[in-house]
C-alpha cells in the first residue's frame, strides 16, 4: 500500500459519503435520477475503499492521517482493526438502508434534504469509527448529533418536533459533559493516539479520583447514545421518525456509536489493567445487566411494533457493554461480534416493520394476524430476525450469546450466565407471540391501509430486497461463523491484537 | 488690582462710589423683577436698572484700566445695552401675543 494511500485512505472513506451528500443538498426535488445515481455511486465507492482497507489491515498495515486542530491534540484518523469492524458494518448497512429509503420515500417531499443529512450522518459515523484520539472522537460525536437531528424531525409534525427536542436535550447535554470529560483527560494525560493497552496507566497512581470522575462522565455520555438504563428515554420517542431513519439510527449509526465509544474507552483509553486498578468494571457490568433485563421487560408491554423493537434494541446493545465490561478475552469477542450481529438482525426487523407499515398500514402488533399469508417473504425475514434476537442456533445471535456465556464463565461471573438465560427467555416472550400471530392466526378483518405497491411482488421491490439481503446475511454469519470472512474471526483477530500487547 | 500704580485717594473714593451706585441699581432691578405684578413692568425694571447699573460699574472700573482696556469696557457696555433692549422687545412681543391668545380663548 503506497504511503499516499496509507495517509489519505481513511479521509477518502469519509469524503466518499460526505461529498455526494453535500452535492445532494443542492439538488432540486425533481432531479431524482441524479440523486439516486449520486447516492449509489457514493455507497459503491465507500464499499470498494473499505474492502481495500480491510485487506491492508488484515495484513497488519497501519493508517494514519492528522490535521492540526487543538493545541496539543490534532485531528487524527487511524484505521485499526476495531475501527474497521464498525466501518464495514456501517457501510454495508448504509447500502441496504439507502436502497430501502429510495423505495420508502417514493413520492414524499424534501428527499434532497433527507438524503443530504442521511449521507452526512453516515460520514459522521464512519469518522467516529476511524477517530484516532479522544478529541476527534468528540468532534464526530457532536457532528453525529447534529446530522441525525434533522432526520428525526424530518416529518415536521408536532410529535416529531417534540421527539426532536427530547433527542437534542439528551444528546447535547451529553456532548457538553463529554467535552468536560475529554478536557479533564487531556489535562491529565494529553490526548495521544488510541493505544491497545490504554494510555492512562501512567497517571493512575497520582489522581484516582479525577480518573474515576472522567470515566464516570464519559460512560454517562456514551450511555446516552448507547441507551444505558437511566439515559435511554430518547430512543422510544425517536420512533416517530420515518422507517429508514429509525432503522439507520437503531441498527447502525447512533446506538452503535455509543457502544463503540464504550469499547474504545475501556480498551484503548483506560486499558484493562487501569480498569481493574480503579475497579471501574464492576459498576458498568451491573448497569449493563440491569439495562438488559429492564429493556426486555419493558418490550413485553409495548403494543406498537417499532416501540417494542426500540426497547429490544436498548437491551441488546447492553449485551455489548456487558461483554466489554467483563474484561475477559472471550467475553470481548462475544461483545464485539454482537455489535455486528445485533446491527444486522435489528435492521432486518426494522425493514420488515417498515414494509408492514408502508404496504398494509400496520403499526400495532394485534393487526399482524395472518400477515404471513399476505406478505410471506417479509414475514419470513421478520421470523429469522426474531429467532436471531432470541439466540436460536443457526442464526448469528446464537454465536454472540454463546461467546458471551463462555466469557462470563471464563471470568468467573457465573450470575451473568443466569442473566443471559433470563433475557433469552424474555426475548422469546416478546418475539414468539408476534411470529405466532403472523403465521398461525387468520387475518382479522381488512388491512388498515392496503396499497398496491408492485404487481409482481408483495410490495415495492426496493423495500423487499434489503430485508431479504440482511436476513440472508444474518443466516450466513451464523452458519459460516468460523470461516475467514465472518465477523467472528475478525473479532477474534481484534481481541488477539488487543490482549496480545500486555 | 491696582495695576496703574498708586491711585490718588480721590479717584479711589470716586470709583468705589460709582461701583456702589451700580450695585444699588442692580439690586433695585432684581427686586423690581421679583416684586412687580405683570411681565411688562418686570421687563421694564430689569432692562432699565441693569443697563444703568452696568454703566456706572464700567465708569467705576475706568479708573483702574489703561486706555485700551477702558475702550473695551465701553464696547462691552454698548453691546449689553443694545442686546438688552432687543431681547426686551422680543420678550414684550411674546408676552403680548400670549395675552391676546388668552383673551381670544375667553371671548
Amino acid at each position: 500500500m503506497s504511503p499516499f494511500w496509507q495517509q489519505y485512505l481513511p479521509l477518502s472513506i469519509i469524503l466518499s459519503s460526505l461529498l455526494p451528500g453535500l452535492i445532494i443538498f443542492t439538488l432540486k426535488e425533481t432531479q431524482v435520477k441524479l440523486r439516486i445515481s449520486l447516492n449509489l455511486f457514493g455507497v459503491g465507492v465507500k464499499l470498494l475503499l473499505v474492502l481495500l482497507m480491510w485487506q491492508a489491515v488484515k495484513a497488519g498495515q497501519q493508517f494514519y492521517f492528522s490535521l492540526p486542530f487543538l493545541p496539543g491534540a490534532d485531528l487524527v484518523l487511524q484505521g485499526d482493526a476495531l475501527s474497521l469492524l464498525f466501518v464495514v458494518l456501517s457501510s454495508v448497512l448504509w447500502l441496504a438502508t439507502t436502497i430501502y429509503a429510495i423505495g420508502y420515500l417514493e413520492q414524499s417531499p424534501l428527499r434532497s434534504r433527507f438524503f443530504g443529512y442521511f449521507s452526512l450522518c453516515v460520514s459522521a459515523t464512519v469518522g467516529l469509527a476511524l477517530a484516532g484520539n479522544l478529541v476527534t472522537f468528540l468532534l464526530f460525536y457532536e457532528l453525529l448529533t447534529l446530522a441525525t437531528f434533522p432526520l428525526v424531525v424530518h416529518r415536521g409534525t408536532p410529535e416529531s418536533l417534540a421527539a426532536g427536542r427530547r433527542y437534542l436535550a439528551y444528546t447535547l447535554s451529553g456532548g457538553v459533559i463529554l467535552m468536560l470529560g475529554v478536557a479533564l483527560l487531556h489535562s491529565l494525560v494529553q490526548s495521544p493516539l488510541f493505544t491497545p493497552g490504554g494510555y492512562v496507566a501512567a497517571a493512575v497512581s497520582g489522581n484516582e479520583g479525577l480518573l474515576m470522575l472522567a470515566f464516570a462522565l464519559m460512560i454517562m455520555v456514551l450511555g446516552v447514545k448507547a441507551a444505558l438504563l437511566p439515559l435511554h428515554g430518547w430512543l422510544p420517542q425517536a420512533m416517530v421518525a420515518p422507517a429508514p431513519v429509525s432503522a439507520l439510527l437503531h441498527a447502525v449509526a447512533v446506538v452503535k456509536a455509543g457502544a463503540f465509544g464504550i469499547i474504545r474507552l475501556v480498551y484503548d483509553v483506560f486499558g484493562v489493567e487501569s480498569m481493574q486498578a480503579l475497579q471501574l468494571a464492576q459498576p458498568l457490568m451491573l448497569l449493563a445487566a440491569a439495562t438488559i433485563l429492564y429493556g426486555s421487560w419493558r418490550a413485553l408491554a409495548q403494543q406498537d411494533i417499532k416501540r417494542r423493537l426500540a426497547y429490544s434494541t436498548i437491551s441488546q446493545v447492553s449485551y455489548i457493554t456487558l461483554g466489554v465490561a467483563m474484561l475477559g478475552p472471550l467475553a470481548a469477542v462475544g461483545g464485539l461480534v454482537h455489535l455486528v450481529h445485533q446491527g444486522v438482525m435489528k435492521i432486518t426487523l426494522f425493514f420488515c416493520a417498515g414494509n408492514f407499515a408502508e404496504t398494509l398500514g400496520i403499526h400495532k402488533i394485534r393487526e399482524l394476524n395472518g400477515v404471513g399469508r399476505r406478505m410471506p417473504v417479509t414475514a419470513m425475514a421478520f421470523t429469522l430476525g426474531a429467532l436471531g434476537m432470541i439466540g436460536i442456533p443457526p442464526t448469528a445471535g446464537f454465536i454472540s450469546k454463546w461467546y458471551l456465556g463462555l466469557g462470563a464463565a471464563e471470568v468467573g461471573q457465573n450470575w451473568l450466565i443466569l442473566v443471559f438465560a433470563l433475557s433469552g427467555l424474555l426475548n422469546a416472550a416478546y418475539f414468539l407471540p408476534v411470529v405466532y400471530r403472523m403465521w398461525f392466526l387468520p387475518q382479522s378483518g381488512r388491512w388498515p391501509a392496503e396499497q398496491r405497491l408492485s404487481n409482481r411482488f408483495e410490495t415495492h421491490w426496493m423495500l423487499l430486497l434489503p430485508a431479504i439481503f440482511t436476513a440472508i446475511l444474518l443466516l450466513l454469519m451464523g452458519l459460516f461463523a468460523s470461516t475467514e470472512l465472518s465477523p467472528l474471526s475478525w473479532s477474534q483477530l481484534i481481541v488477539e491484537r488487543e490482549f496480545r500487547h500486555d | 488690582m491696582d495695576s496703574a500704580g498708586q491711585l490718588s485717594v480721590l479717584s479711589t473714593v470716586l470709583s468705589s462710589l460709582l461701583l456702589i451706585t451700580g450695585l444699588f441699581f442692580f439690586i433695585a432691578g432684581s427686586i423690581g423683577m421679583l416684586r412687580f405684578p405683570d411681565s411688562f413692568s418686570r421687563l421694564h425694571a430689569v432692562t432699565k436698572a441693569d443697563s444703568l447699573g452696568l454703566g456706572s460699574i464700567v465708569a467705576g472700573l475706568m479708573f483702574y484700566g489703561d486706555l485700551w482696556q477702558n475702550l473695551l469696557l465701553l464696547l462691552i457696555w454698548l453691546l449689553v445695552l443694545a442686546s438688552g433692549s432687543v431681547s426686551c422687545q422680543l420678550l414684550a412681543r411674546f408676552a403680548k401675543a400670549q395675552q391676546d391668545r388668552v383673551q381670544q380663548d375667553k371671548t
Binding site: - | 443694545a82 442686546s83 432687543v86 422687545q89 422680543l90 412681543r93
Partner: protein, 314 residues
C-alpha cells in the same frame, strides 16, 4: 486672602445653582437655572487662570447649549403637573450618590499637591512647535490626534442630528431684531478673526472663534437670513468637511516632506513649517466648527425640510 471670600461665594453660587436646577419643579426653571450655572462656570474658569476655557465655556457651554435646550424645551409636551417624587424614590439614589461622592472625595484629597512634570516637557517642546501659546501648541501639535478625532466627533454629531432631523418650526423675525443681527454680524466676524489670530500667542483659537461665529450665524438664521446655509448646498458641505479634510491633507503633506532617512511619523509637523500649517488648519477648523454648530443649533432652513416629516414618517 480677599480672593478666598470671592472663591467661597463663587463656589456656593455654583453649587446652589446646580442644585436648584436639578430640584426645580418646572422644567423651564431647570433650563434657565442651568444657563445661569453655565455662565457662572465661565467665571470660575476665568478665576482659575484658564482664559481659553472661560471663552469656550461662555460661547459653547452656556450660549449654544442654552439655545439648544430652549429649542428642545419648545418641543416638549406642556408640563401639566409639577414633577414631585415621593420620598423613598429619592432615598436610594441619594444614598448611592453620597457613597460615590465620599469615595471620589477621599481619592481627591489624597492627590499630590505638585503639578505633573508634563508642564516642563511642554515648555521645552514649545520652541519648535510653531506657536508660543502652550494650550494651542498642545492642541494642534503635541496631541493633534485628539483634536482631529474631536473634530470628527463634532461632524458626527451633526450627521447624527441630521439623520434624526426633527422638523424645525420657522421662527418669527421683525425689523428690529433683523437690523440688530445685521449690525452684530460684522463685529462677530471681526472678533472671531481676532480670536483666531491671537490663538497662536494668547488665549484663543479655533474652537472659541468657531463658537463665536456660530453664535452670530444662529442669530442671523433665526431672522430668516443665510438661507443658503444648508447641508444640501455642496459648498457648505465642503466647508464643513474641510475642517477635518485640511487637517488630514496637511498631515499627509508633512509625511511627504519628511526627509528620506527619518521614519514616517503620523501628524508630525516639520518645525519650520509648523506655524503656517497650524494657522491654516485652525482657519478651516474655525469655519467648519462655525457651520457645524449653526446647523446643529438652527437646523435646516424650513424650505428644504428634512426627509422625514413629523409624525409617523420614515
Amino acid at each position: 486672602m480677599r480672593l478666598l471670600l470671592f472663591d467661597a461665594i463663587l463656589c456656593l453660587l455654583l453649587l446652589t445653582l446646580a442644585l436648584a436646577s436639578i430640584l426645580s419643579r418646572q422644567l423651564a426653571h431647570a433650563v434657565i437655572l442651568y444657563i445661569a450655572f453655565g455662565l457662572m462656570m465661565a467665571l470660575a474658569w476665568a478665576r482659575l487662570a484658564a482664559p481659553d476655557l472661560a471663552l469656550a465655556e461662555a460661547a459653547i457651554g452656556a450660549g449654544l447649549t442654552g439655545a439648544l435646550c430652549f429649542s428642545a424645551l419648545a418641543h416638549q409636551q406642556p408640563q401639566l403637573k409639577p414633577d414631585v417624587l415621593n420620598w423613598p424614590k429619592r432615598l436610594w439614589p441619594a444614598v448611592f450618590v453620597l457613597l460615590m461622592l465620599g469615595g471620589v472625595l477621599a481619592a481627591l484629597l489624597q492627590l499630590p499637591p505638585s503639578a505633573s512634570q508634563l508642564i516642563a516637557v511642554t515648555q521645552a517642546g514649545i520652541g519648535n512647535s510653531g506657536v508660543s501659546h502652550p494650550v494651542t501648541a498642545v492642541l494642534l501639535n503635541f496631541r493633534s490626534w485628539d483634536t482631529l478625532l474631536e473634530l470628527v466627533v463634532l461632524l458626527l454629531a451633526l450627521l447624527g442630528a441630521r439623520q434624526v432631523a426633527p422638523e424645525v418650526k420657522p421662527a418669527t423675525s421683525w425689523p428690529l431684531s433683523l437690523g440688530w443681527s445685521r449690525l452684530l454680524a460684522p463685529m462677530v466676524i471681526l472678533l472671531a478673526g481676532y480670536l483666531l489670530w491671537a490663538g497662536a500667542s494668547q488665549p484663543g483659537g479655533a474652537f472659541q472663534a468657531g463658537a463665536l461665529l456660530a453664535a452670530g450665524a444662529v442669530v442671523l438664521r433665526l431672522n430668516q437670513q443665510l438661507s443658503w446655509l444648508s447641508w444640501s448646498n455642496f459648498w457648505i458641505r465642503l466647508l464643513i468637511v474641510s475642517g477635518v479634510l485640511v487637517f488630514v491633507l496637511m498631515a499627509l503633506l508633512a509625511i511627504l516632506l519628511t526627509p528620506g532617512n527619518t521614519d514616517v511619523v503620523w501628524l508630525r509637523w516639520p518645525p519650520h513649517l509648523a506655524a503656517g500649517i497650524i494657522l491654516l488648519v485652525e482657519l478651516f477648523a474655525t469655519l467648519a466648527i462655525a457651520l457645524t454648530l449653526t446647523l446643529l443649533v438652527a437646523g435646516e432652513p424650513a424650505s428644504t425640510g428634512a426627509e422625514h416629516g413629523c409624525g409617523e414618517g420614515a
